[in-house]
Amino acid sequence: MRPVVLLATVFLLVWPAAAQAQPAGRGGPPLAAREAAAVDLTGYWVSVIVEDWKWRMVTPKKGVYEGVPLNAEGRKVGDSWDPARDEAAGQQCKAYGAANIMRLPGRLHIVWNDANTLKIETDTGTQTRLFRFGSAPPAGQPSLQGNSVATWLPAPGRGRAGAGPRPGGSMKVVTTGLTPGYVRKNGAPHSGSAVVTEYYDVNTLPNGDQWLTITTKVEDPQYFVRHYLTTSDFLKLPNAAGWAPTPCSAR
């Protein structure tokens, strides 16, 4: 075989694979977050309240801070909780911010807002969180849900483009730029300095159900003596049944 013919043959054999991979290949644009997903979080999820029921499903009395690492200043602020005042000030959503929204009973609807932004809608309090992958968004005004930057934590090894997430990956989200709010509906406060770090894991239960566990660490140098570390659990639902948007309640 003549060398030129051989070269052409090898080229023709190899080129299709190379061409197919080009959009995500080295030197090309990086994979969008949606294509690079380490875990599929999309769909409807319902919270299952098995832990701290008496402080999550119902609103405890003022001053019940068991488990919340408030310092003296935080307790002082918490002790001044007045839901009527919050309502009058239009601040009945203070317990529905990023630091606590996942702890509240409700459903999540998770979709891709665009190729690099994951959106979580909650029916309780009718809130929306946006998780942006890649470069951090420009710091804007502090808000209830703040600015969330997400990164994938892929499973070990290499995945294949377009093959979907491999089991065992996770998502990490860091949220800053929060307005002051509550980590418990009875007014246990966090300040505007709070930073919320979350890890999202999905596991397949023995019965085949999908189970989402969100590990949440809230760090607040102003009101906490140390970090506030919790987990919140959700069962994946087949559809939107039970989705019931409700407004925030200060009580």
Partner: protein, 667 residues
């Protein structure tokens, strides 16, 4: 091929390979780490979810998907059960271990050649070492023992270690009362994120829960953390002051005032000085305090204004992945086969078509406790023969060559003969001991007797040589039940009758057998009037006969002299003879008539069950209830899923009736 051509071909191939590698690399999706993060470290419990780490008030079942049986069992089981001698060293139950204070240590045991992790060891302050096998071994059969930590296997799924645990004893979900059956399985998902360890625990108890109970918790990495250990070295402090070592603390249904006072009454005031600083929790509705599936989902909030009842709610459903009925049946497989489980010392448990036979196997021969049914005799004999060949007279490879091998007589080496000759004959059956006259224990007597050879003096007093046929030992009432006075037709053939009977409290075999002192104890007025238990003292194994079963309520045959109090006395006798190895498990092994191999705590759990039901029935009798009324009150509701039957030879109804009539007879 000339040099230019070879060079061209090589260049083309290199180019091709380079392009292929580039294509493959370019086609990758996200690239993860080379391996899952290491979890072997010192970990500090670090969670702000308080109701599971702190001592919950009695009666607090919030968040637990309890069914009616789970609530009843929890309401009637007080914390003082820890004061009983059999539970005094019980470690935290598996569902609570990650929640117990004191941190966790995870170690890894690796293959010395491959450095693969074969086993993770998880340790807590109040626990036993808990191995998690990563080498792909299967879980044991259902008739293998249960332990406080169960049997765990693990596999990595991406960055998450999935652990599957079976063979767990009954215990509790949280400190303070919420109970589990021993039919639950546990699945854990452990994921390390930076310095945080997240553990999701799935407790699937089909007997006490309407759906799996799933909680999650967090630990943080702390290399300076020191994991303490709590060694149980104190005597039992029973709430009765130690006046009755057999006392079983429990509440009759509806009488647990402690739970009501502490938690679920209106006002919900927390009682007791130890909890004086806990806030009153009267914002929690009573129905929610009792747990249940419908209280776990957001829909429950619609009931808070009183407009909707919790019963009317439609909530998502999760099914259990466990069939309790199948699991229970698997402990006593009626499959027409013989399964062999090594127990301890020279003793084995043979599961013979669902009925257990205890076998002492050694150079002295074979002693069998019970003979199985007549239909299984051939398979039983074959299994015993195979067991002897495998354990006592195995064909072994030559271990020594030369004139100086131990036992060699010069160059005519017996090791040569060992290689070329056939194995020695097996050892015969020397004793058969019947623990009762039940057909599934005595049916095989004729075949086994015929296959055996009694030892000189095996007839316990006969100073003669070896005798044809193995002797059958039993209490004299067994012989009375199986035979008949002269001139009358006996219910069983004479070949099946005991040949050596005893009438005292116990009978000792005339000599050690396979290294064991063997003692046969009478259990008067128990299942019948002729029950025995057999203690292999050096091997530390007790064959319990029908006194103990892990698959049914005790069969109490009133017509043959049985009584519920006799069963309880017999179980207490087993407990008194037995000794736990460490932390209330292991040590003396107890072979039930049917079901899984057990230890002291298992017998105690069974005894507790019988006592609780007896006391409940007695209470109903005291209140003037008739038998139909007692049955309708379902005094065994929380145990029926575990031990009850609606069909078959021994139903729940029959058991309750036997208890009722037995108590009326006041035996």
């Amino acid at each position: 091929m000339d040099r230019v051509k070879r060079t061209s071909i090589a260049a083309a191939l290199l180019l091709g390979m380079a392009m292929l590698v580039d294509a493959l690399v370019s086609a990758q999706g996200p690239v993860g780490p080379a391996a899952p993060p290491d979890i072997a470290a010192e970990w500090r419990l670090d969670t702000n979810e308080r109701d599971l780490t702190s001592q919950a008030p009695l009666g607090d079942y919030t968040g637990i998907p309890f069914n009616e049986a789970g609530r009843l069992r929890s309401d009637t089981t007080p914390e003082s059960i820890w004061g009983t001698p059999e539970y005094q060293c019980r470690p935290h139950s598996a569902p609570h271990q990650w929640r117990g204070l004191g941190g966790a240590r995870i170690l890894k045991e690796q293959d010395p050649l491959t450095r693969d992790v074969n086993v993770y060891h998880i340790q807590f302050m109040r626990s036993l070492d808990r191995p998690v096998f990563m080498d792909g071994r299967p879980h044991p059969p259902a008739y293998a023992p249960h332990s406080w930590t169960g049997f765990s296997t693990g596999e990595w799924i991406g960055n998450t270690l999935k652990i599957t645990t079976t063979h767990l004893k009954d215990g509790y979900l949280r400190r303070g009362g919420p109970q589990t059956s021993d039919m639950y399985a546990m699945t854990e998902f452990i994921t390390r994120h930076d310095d945080i360890l997240t553990i999701v625990t799935v407790i699937d108890d089909p007997l006490y829960q309407d759906q799996p109970y799933i909680h999650s918790t967090t630990y943080t990495f702390d290399p300076t953390f020191r994991l303490n250990t709590e060694i149980c070295n104190g005597p039992a402090v029973a709430e009765n002051g130690g006046t009755d070592r057999h006392f079983v603390p429990h509440f009759l249904p509806g009488t647990n005032e402690e739970a009501r006072n502490e938690w679920i009454t209106a006002g919900g005031l927390i009682a007791g000085a130890a909890r004086a600083n806990v806030e009153a929790q009267d914002w929690v509705p009573l129905v929610a305090a009792r747990g249940g599936v419908k209280t776990l989902y957001p829909e429950y909030r619609t009931t808070l204004n009183g407009g909707v009842s919790a019963d009317a709610l439609q909530v998502p459903t999760m099914r259990s992945s466990i069939s309790a009925a199948k699991m229970i049946a698997a402990q006593s497989p009626r499959d027409g086969q013989v399964h062999v489980l090594p127990v301890q010392g020279s003793v084995y448990m043979l599961v013979v078509d669902g009925t257990n036979i205890t076998a002492s196997v050694g150079l002295d021969g074979v002693a069998l406790v019970n003979a199985g049914s007549v239909q299984m005799s051939d398979k039983l004999l074959a299994a015993v023969d195979q067991l002897v060949k495998a354990t006592v007279t195995p064909a072994a490879p030559n271990a020594c060559i030369g004139a100086n091998c131990p036992g060699a007589w010069g160059w005519s080496s017996p090791y040569m003969n060992a290689v070329i000759s056939s194995p020695p004959p097996t050892r015969p059956i020397r004793y058969i001991i019947n623990t009762s006259a039940a057909p599934d224990h005595t049916g095989g007597n004729p075949s086994l007797v015929a296959a055996g050879t009694g030892l000189r003096g095996a007839q316990l007093g006969g100073a003669v040589g070896n005798v044809e046929g193995a002797p059958v030992i039993a209490h004299e009432n067994v012989l009375a039940r199986m035979s008949a006075p002269a001139g009358k037709e006996a219910p069983t053939p004479q070949a099946a009758w005991p040949t050596v009977t005893y009438f005292d409290e116990f009978l000792k075999l005339p000599a050690y057998f396979n290294g064991d002192p063997v003692i046969v104890y009478h259990a008067p007025q128990a299942n019948t009037d002729g029950d025995s238990i057999v203690f292999f003292r050096r091997s530390d194994v007790i064959a319990a006969g029908d006194l103990f079963s892990t698959v049914s309520y005790p069969v109490i045959d009133l017509a043959k002299g049985g009584s519920v109090n006799g069963v309880i006395r017999g179980l207490n006798n087993i407990i008194d003879l037995a000794f736990a190895e460490y932390r209330s498990q292991g040590g003396t092994w107890i072979v039930p008539s049917h079901g899984r191999l057990s230890d002291t705590a298992d017998v105690a759990s069974y005894r507790n069950m019988v006592v609780m039901i007896r006391d409940r029935v007695q209470d109903l009798i005291d209140r003037g209830m008739t038998l139909p009324q007692v049955k309708a009150a379902r005094p065994s509701l929380d145990f029926d899923g575990r031990y009850g039957n609606t069909t078959g030879e021994w139903t729940t109804d029959m058991f309750i009736e036997a208890v009722y009539r037995s108590l009326q007879d006041k035996k």
